[in-house]
Amino acid sequence: MKLHEYQAKVVLARAGIPVPEGRIAATAQEAEDAARAIGAPVAVKAQVHVGGRGKAGGIRIAKSPADARAAASAILGMEIKGLRVEKVYVERAADVRSELYLGITLDRDRRRPVVMLSTVGGMDIEEVAASTPEKIARGWPSPLLGLLPFEARSLVFAAGVPPEQRDAVADIALRLSRVYGETDATLVEINPLFVQTDGSVLAGDAKLEIDDNALFRQPDLAKLREVAKDEEAEERARALGFSFVQLDGDVGIIGNGAGLVMATLDAVRNAGGRAANFLDVGGGAKEAIVRAALEIVLSNPRARSVLINIFGGITRGDEVAKGILDVVERHPPRVPLVVRLSGTQAEAGRRLLEGAPLESRATMDDAAAEAVRLAAAEAAGAEAPRAR
């Protein structure tokens, strides 16, 4: 779960990391009032869950409250990478001498957190890592101990932080490591970390992403979850215990098990088609589950066929087939259905499906090819009346 900058900065400030004074605003008037209260110049910053706001014009410096109003008018309602800006954060503009980078995330290979510090701040750290990896100092604190003071000092020396800022930056790194642990973060990042002309150090931006699996013990942070308009189906699926991702093709996919569903998406691509979604119903495939899954997949108007690929394991293939038959009889779907059963009792399941208003195939490759063919036929059928 991603937090907005203004929310992350509250968390950082509570941990004792210096952040500029700021206020959130949902209207131009509120932005003007905020600028007046804080004192111009201020930065007016779009609050959206994507990177690259600055490049997209989502950050402006305002020299007066009236300027802040104009900046907020321009930014509010703007779309950045498909996300609408609903709020801006107005904060006191820093007096910047230089910009550092400080971040902590998971290093999957080492199975430890990795703390990264660089004097090349303000840029996309992945670009820096790719082009000049030697400019990033890295440390891997023990997950049991967190970052230790000597490790923070080593990082500061290795990164070449100027002597005047060493203590402040090491202190911020230690505090940030505590934030990482205490919030169950998967990423916490200050980029840029400003060095001001008076020598003080200040968090220019803040990114905080929380492990979804840990939200049960982070109730205050869990309340900050925001669901974007295009993620509503994803949210509905999550509530049912499904894992769902909307994609941009026209073959709807339902399957059990993440790996199997990914392989099904790939099979559709191998057959020359494009999947409309990823939907993993988890274990089993009883009637209610198949019905709910179909509803979610078909709520996407782009879906022109649906491929159900279920491996019958503990839930046997014949039971799965009965579940699917119940659904097609009681709630016939608006698009053609292709079903592929495999595993335990799959043959018995396929026999049950004979004669039902759906296509049944024995292999994943055949089923994918049929679903792609049917989606294309539906598309042609949809255009035909207009052609006449």
Binding site: L106, P113, D211, A258, G259, L260, M262, F278, G343
Partner: protein, 290 residues
């Protein structure tokens, strides 16, 4: 015995809830030596004929268990895993889904100083067909033989085991390493076990997008491989930045793409199947039996 588990492995079940009880019975039916379970406060009782113990240490003392399967729900799973490690269990298999990453980092840090092998979490477990199954996989799809099999997923593993079995390719040991970003036995380590196992003639590696475990496994096989291998990567058509069900299956930045994994395997001389259905044929060819 193949790797990790065999006829003589003695298993206890941690987390005797609905799922734990169900699979304890399935494992017993398969022939696995399930010797007890832990349920704090229920020590001395019998559940479905299995003796219960208050602690893992007690269960080990009384039954001589050397393996454990963990069904404990995510919020308490770290504690269960640490208890098993503390009791000196050789093989711990964690089925539990949704354990926080921070908890797994701590468990893995403790593992570094212990002799325990942890498989999972968020996987189907492991099976040495015909001998022992410590997991939730449907046994019908597996058969004894010489193909070692490592996979990050559940049903896709069963599907491929089924394909192998139908093609007459039995399996030595099948290890479901789990779909989380931090797991006890990452793919390269599981591949190493099979590479060094005399009962394994060929290795099937089923990976998915996210992380770089497959790349590391490919590098290992390139330098140390003693037997032929075949790979498959799920998620070639997945867009970056979208988590594909498994917490570990996400392409972020330049990390974890299917292309990078496929290239790594090909560079190691390991053929990569375009679809699961191609795997048996590739294994036959790799074994020189085509």
């Amino acid at each position: 015995m193949s790797v990790l588990l065999g006829r003589d492995t003695r298993v206890i079940v941690q987390g005797m809830g609905r799922e734990g009880r169900f699979h304890a019975q399935r494992m017993k039916e398969y022939g696995t030596k399930v010797v007890g379970g832990t349920k704090p406060g229920a020590g001395g009782a019998l559940i479905d004929g299995l003796p219960m113990f208050d602690t893992v240490a007690e269960a080990v003392d009384e039954t001589g268990a050397n393996a454990s399967i963990v069904f404990v729900p995510a919020p308490a799973a770290m504690d269960a895993l640490l208890e098993a490690i503390d009791a000196g269990i050789d093989l711990v298999i964690a089925i539990t889904e949704g354990i926080p990453v921070a908890d797994m980092l701590k468990v893995v840090a403790v593992l570094e100083t212990a002799a325990t092998t942890l498989v999972g979490p968020n996987g189907p477990g492991a099976i040495t067909p015909g001998e022992s199954k410590i997991g939730i996989m449907p046994a019908e799809n597996f058969s004894p033989g010489g193909v070692g099999f490592v996979s990050r997923s559940g049903t896709l593993t069963y599907e491929i085991a089924d394909l192998l079995t139908r093609a007459g390719l039995g399996q030595s040991t099948c290890i479901g390493v789990g779909g989380d970003p931090v797991i006890g036995l990452p793919t390269p380590d599981a591949v190493r076990l099979l590479n060094e196992d005399p009962a394994t003639e060929a290795i099937v590696i089923v990976g998915e997008i996210g992380g770089s475990a497959e790349e590391r496994a490919a590098l290992y096989m390139r330098s140390e491989g003693k037997k032929p291998a075949v790979a498959f990567i799920a998620g070639r058509s997945a867009p970056p930045g979208k988590r594909m069900g498994h917490a570990g299956a996400i392409v972020s930045g330049s990390q974890g793409t299917a292309e990078s994994k496929i290239r790594a395997f090909r560079d190691a001389g390991i053929p990569v199947a375009d679809a699961p259905s191609e795997i048996p044929q590739l294994v036959q060819e790799a074994l020189g039996r085509s």
